[in-house]
């Protein structure tokens, strides 16, 4: 289950002069994100921690290594082959979905 607003206040990425607020879509829901964030950062900031389900046992997985090594954070982005959420930067209007075990 993904819960909203898990970001702490002091950790909040304010819509400062340094980054622009944009909108992304995750499994059909619209989320606010900041330009310059990775997909993983935007999802985590919105309280979304389950990024995919495994093929063999259908277990939930999310961010683990954060630097592109472990491939645990694979998600579907704009209909392309699954991408690592920790490496891809958000773009306005980006459509992201959970990588399912089908």
């Amino acid at each position: 289950m993904n819960r909203p607003n898990r970001q702490t206040d002091s950790g909040r990425l304010s819509a400062s002069e340094h980054s622009r607020s944009i909108t992304i879509h995750f499994d059909g829901h619209s989320l606010g994100a900041q330009e310059g964030q990775t997909v993983a950062a935007a999802l985590l900031a919105a309280g979304i921690t389950v990024f995919r389900y495994t093929f063999r046992y259908h277990k939930p997985r999310g961010l683990f290594c954060g630097m592109g090594v472990c491939y645990e954070c694979l998600v579907n982005i704009d209909g392309e082959t699954p991408k690592r959420a920790c490496l891809i930067k958000v773009r306005d209007g980006m459509r992201i979905s959970t990588l399912l075990d089908e």
């Binding site: 340094h18 063999r56 961010l63 683990f64 290594c65 090594v69 472990c70 491939y71 645990e72 920790c86």
Partner: protein, 475 residues
């Protein structure tokens, strides 16, 4: 069209690779440098948006900016956002062909010499529940805290061993996240720290550690030495952690367990060298636990067992960023000498200046390892049902069965269980499976090296068929 030929290809533009490229190109070596990230500097010098910089990150951020500027102004050709998926020797030509996959980069480049600087990543330790969302590495926590100022949860347990555990806990606490405990596997006394050889000669390291420690104590966060995570619980997300005391070998002491309600567990057990590239090209490797696992054999000039192939920085053994910078510079000098850009005397002179400083950084690495060594008990945390290979979900039980049925090496286990065959290509599970196989074999009687390592073959990363087709022979 024949790919562009360079004297030198540097793979990895972290502290070691960037310095190698700068130093070699300054000495007249025609150099290309490749990195999969969109900026140079690696994990240590990650870019931090100015809005998110703090006093704690500014010094390193400034150093990173300076490094990037020097690389940009150097004569080296820099390919960023580009993965290296294979390196092949063209024997007729006597040159390495480096296969690239990037948005605006050629498919290939050719080079006489290679400097491999693949860096390092968190050494995973498997415990029941370690695959749950909400269980993340120290590296991930530091990236999110420093680069994005995002707290990965509200209530955290930070666990593992070493300076990164302290650093991750401090950075998270400064974000205002509640840290219920920091569990450090090692038990250190102030005396053991002050009497550690050479540590007093590194005031900045001590100062950083002290600052981190103060961040914790001022917020009354317990720093529990001789404690460890035992298990993580949750269904779709971690919601509870079981911690307990561990003995000096890292084995849990029954009857000391405590349950903590948390929504994030940050774990860090030191780093492991990324040795995919040296292994793929065939460098001789040796297993050195104190260096983080498998490392390439090198002489004092950083030459590997293969001619014209050098490995530098943390990918040759975990020794930190300062050491990586020095090794990068040294390799640039040695390559320039090997290509005839410098006289032997000049190489000796320049090398001597760097190797003197390297003694100091290597001593520090040794001291830090002696304070926070890998403990045999870490491998005992996993249960029979715990997945060791996260990608293929091969459990400890499956690996033990494979060994019972005759598997004797990591590659044997891989063939039987698929451990190491998933998307990460064994990067995450290799150390964990290595420890499990050692234990299952009762490795006391066996040299650890005999278990071997996973074979590494191209493509190093999942690669699209389109990218592979583009690299075809007639292109």
């Amino acid at each position: 069209m024949t790919p562009k030929a360079f004297d030198l290809a540097v793979i990895g533009a972290g502290p070691a690779g960037s310095e190698a490229a700068i130093s070699a190109s300054e000495l007249g070596v025609e150099t290309a440098v490749v990195d999969s990230y969109s900026y140079a500097g690696g994990q240590y010098f990650r870019t931090i948006p100015p809005a998110f910089q703090t006093a704690h990150t500014k010094r390193v951020a400034d150093q990173g900016l300076a490094l990037r500027r020097r690389l940009r102004h150097s004569a080296a050709t820099v390919y960023l956002g580009t993965e290296v998926w294979g390196i092949f020797m063209n024997k007729q030509e006597g040159r390495w062909w480096v296969a690239l996959d990037g948005p605006d980069t050629p498919c290939w480049l050719r080079a006489k010499s290679l400097i491999l600087a693949g860096g390092a990543y968190d050494k995973p330790v498997a415990f029941p529940g370690w695959t749950l969302p909400g269980v993340i590495t120290c590296g991930a926590a530091l990236i999110f805290a420093k680069s994005y100022r995002i707290a990965p949860g509200r209530r955290a347990l930070v666990t593992g061993s070493g300076p990164l555990v302290l650093s991750a806990a401090a950075h998270l606490s400064r974000l205002g996240i509640e840290i219920v405990a920091v569990c450090e596997s090692s038990k250190l006394s102030p005396k053991s720290i002050l009497s550690a050889p050479g540590l007093l000669g590194h005031p900045r390291v001590l100062q950083e550690a002290w600052d981190c420690f103060k961040s914790l104590t001022s917020r009354r966060i317990p720093y529990k030495m001789g404690w460890s995570i035992l298990e993580a619980f949750g269904t779709d997300h971690v919601n509870q952690a079981l911690i307990g005391r561990v003995d000096s070998d890292g084995f849990s002491i029954p009857g000391t367990e405590q349950r903590l309600n948390v929504d994030v567990i940050v774990c860090g057990y030191g780093l492991t060298p990324n040795t995919r590239l040296p292994r793929m090209v065939g460098c001789r490797m040796s297993h050195m636990t104190e260096c983080g696992g498998w490392v390439p054999w090198r002489d004092r000039r950083l030459r590997t067992s293969l001619p014209n192939v050098y490995v530098v920085g943390d990918s040759a053994g975990i020794r930190g960023s300062e050491n990586a910078i020095l090794e990068g510079r040294l390799s640039g000098v040695v390559v320039a000498g090997s290509l005839g850009h410098l006289s032997e005397r000049r190489v000796d002179h320049l090398s001597a200046r760097i190797t003197g400083k390297l003694k100091r950084t290597r001593r520090l690495a040794k001291t830090l390892y002696s304070l926070f060594p890998q403990r045999p008990g870490w491998a005992s945390l996993a249960k029979t049902s715990t997945p060791l290979c996260r990608c293929e979900e091969a459990s400890l039980g499956e690996i033990e069965t494979a060994v019972a049925e005759g598997a004797r090496s990591l590659d044997d286990v891989k063939m039987v269980t698929r451990a190491g065959m998933g998307s990460c290509q064994g990067r995450m599970c290799e150390g964990v499976v290595f420890s499990a196989v050692s234990r299952a074999l009762g490795a006391d009687g066996l040299p650890q090296g005999s278990i071997g390592h996973y074979s590494v073959r191209p493509p190093l990363r999942p690669l699209s068929l389109g990218a592979l087709a583009k690299a075809g022979p007639d292109k």
